[in-house]
């Protein structure tokens, strides 16, 4: 019950915040580009998307997202939401309010994840709209006459979400540690780029920042398992770093 109260307060804080707008714009970016591509090169893309238009559309969209933009979005969101407290000097008011440390920590983390899921949902909606609207403008496409494979879309979204879990916990921990938001973003970006460079390494499935990219390659393979190795690793990292971050906050000498 008290957790729900803390969560409601957390969600209220994100109203009109930078994190909120980042979610909206982040979700809009790729669908707009796809719309423009489809609109200006109808010959090429209608031929490409002939057999399975929705599957092709969504896979391309998620792939474009998950390689770099999505982990970057997660890094930014994980630091922007704790930044609301740092920037406004409000940590002290939060810690002086009657909430348990667990509620403070986990409600904020859940608010971050709700923000990420909000972006996922918006992204799928915008992808849907971009295809439908381009089809209205150009009848060469067959989006309107083909049903959407909702299950495949859900699977795609779910796998991608699991792939960012590890990053989210690591970034949340770093963001809680540093008052200056450059630190978590800089560290996150450096780790992300490093893991993209070492993509060929045989142990790459153990590198959390490479997980979204691995899911991106995995989508093409169409394996029969819902979750693959690196996605389980991502869950492992998520649990481990969430615990580390919580105890780090709990035993800190100075709060707010």
């Amino acid at each position: 019950m008290s957790f729900a109260i803390s969560l409601r307060a957390e969600i209220l804080k994100t109203k009109r915040s930078a994190a909120f707008w980042l979610s909206v714009l982040g979700a809009l970016f790729i669908p707009v580009i796809f719309f423009l591509m489809y609109f200006f090169k109808p010959e090429e893309f209608s031929a490409q998307l002939k057999s399975k238009p929705w599957e092709g559309h969504f896979e391309h969209g998620w792939q474009a997202l998950s390689l770099f933009l999505l982990p970057m979005f997660v890094i930014l969101t994980c630091s922007l939401i704790p930044q609301i407290e740092f920037k406004n000097n409000t940590w002290k008011q939060v810690f002086a309010s009657p909430q348990s440390l667990g509620n403070i920590f986990f409600s904020k983390f859940l608010a971050i994840h709700l923000m990420i899921l909000f972006c996922f949902i918006l992204f799928n909606i915008f992808m849907l709209l971009s295809a439908v609207s381009v089809n209205f403008l150009n009848s060469k496409y067959s989006f309107l006459s083909t049903p959407v494979d909702w299950l495949a879309l859900l699977r795609l979204s779910f796998k991608t979400y699991v792939s960012i879990l590890g990053i989210s916990a690591i970034q949340y921990w770093i963001s809680l540690r540093f008052k200056n938001f450059i630190a978590p973003i800089g560290i996150g970006l450096a780790l992300l780029i490093t893991s993209l460079i070492i993509m060929q390494w045989e142990h790459i499935s153990k590198v959390p920042y490479a997980h979204p990219a691995l899911t991106f390659f995995d989508i093409r393979k169409k394996s029969s398992h819902l979750l693959t190795n690196h996605e389980w690793n991502s869950i492992g990292y998520f649990i481990f770093f969430t615990i580390v971050a919580f105890f780090d906050m709990k035993y800190r000498k100075e709060r707010g």
């Binding site: 209220l12 804080k13 000097n89 409000t90 008011q93 002086a96 009657p98 707010g256």
Partner: protein, 304 residues
């Protein structure tokens, strides 16, 4: 006297730098009082208040609020405490009402409280204006409104009038007095301005370099003040007078005047007689009512 709302025992605190920020602080805030916590900047006021709210991890000593150990009853205690520590803490991208709504949810107060506290601090008509567009005074008032939202039994205010204009200072002071009188709210308010504490506090604690130098009622402080009263003397030959007086009193020379500790009327007469006997004309001879300001300087410079 009623039982204290806040009681700390042997509270010490070190920051990493090593020097003691707090040294054996025994704070006693009686129920229903306005406790003025006085000290120059850097004396340890904010550190003490942060410890009371659990914003700093206690290192040594004990803290009891409402007669309960703070660490074991943190949430229960915080439900009954309103606080404002240092600069305003507001979500600048939100309006006044939205800021209050966040804490209304957390404290579980009635929706009507939002308008009530807004009218208490005089911020009824800010509408869709975001907190970042507020003046410092308005931000401070909104922070006070947040602290009042759940009708706390204890208010902890750290320099609440900092950055306010004279009118704002008076209003805040009146508000603190009113809350204390009408709702019997105990208020612990820190300040580095003596005058301000003197005008609202019933109890005073003076802290300097992490040590409590004085703690007691305003009346007791006034009594100390009389003890500290000085006799001010101005003569035709101050140098000679000073030499004469030095034999009997500890003297101070200030702006062409000699100041000695005031003991009694008889002492004044004796001093006068002695100076006249040495052919010195006495221009001025009167007990100087050293105000609290002077006392404050006296007290805080004692341990040099």
């Amino acid at each position: 006297m009623s039982s204290p709302v806040i009681q700390t025992k042997n509270l010490d605190f070190f920051f990493n730098s090593g020097s003691k920020t707090l040294d054996d602080v025994n704070l006693v805030v009686p129920a229903g009082s306005i406790y003025g916590f006085l000290g120059p900047n850097g004396a340890g006021k904010t550190t003490t208040l942060r410890l009371l709210l659990g914003l700093l991890k206690k290192q040594h000593g004990s803290i009891e609020i409402f007669g309960k150990n703070f660490e074991n009853n943190r949430i229960e205690i915080l439900k009954r405490v309103g606080s404002l520590i240092e600069q305003p803490s507001l979500y600048l991208h939100l309006t006044a009402i939205e800021n209050l709504e966040i804490y209304r949810i957390i404290y579980g107060c009635n929706k009507s409280r939002i308008n009530e506290v807004l009218s208490i601090v005089g911020l009824e008509n800010t509408g869709k204006k975001k907190a970042k567009q507020f003046s410092l005074g308005m931000k401070q008032r909104l922070s006070i409104a947040i602290a009042l939202l759940h009708q706390p039994e204890l208010l902890i205010l750290d320099e609440p009038t900092n950055g306010l204009d004279p009118n704002g200072i008076i209003k805040t002071r009146e508000l603190i007095k009113k809350l204390n009188k009408e709702h019997n709210t105990t208020v612990l308010v820190s300040s580095h301005i003596l005058n301000e504490v003197e005008r609202m506090a019933t109890q005073v604690g003076i802290i300097h370099k992490g040590k409590m130098l004085f703690q007691g009622s305003l009346g007791e402080l006034q009594q100390m003040k009389t003890k500290q009263t000085a006799l001010e003397i101005e003569t035709s030959d101050n140098t000679k007078s000073a030499q004469l007086l030095k034999e009997q009193f500890s003297i101070q020379q200030l702006n062409g005047k000699i100041i000695i500790p005031f003991q009694s009327k008889e002492q004044s007469a004796a001093v006068n007689k002695m100076l006249l006997q040495h052919n010195i004309d006495v221009y001025t001879l009167h007990p100087q009512q050293s105000d609290l300001e002077q006392l404050f300087i006296d007290i805080t410079s004692n341990d040099k």
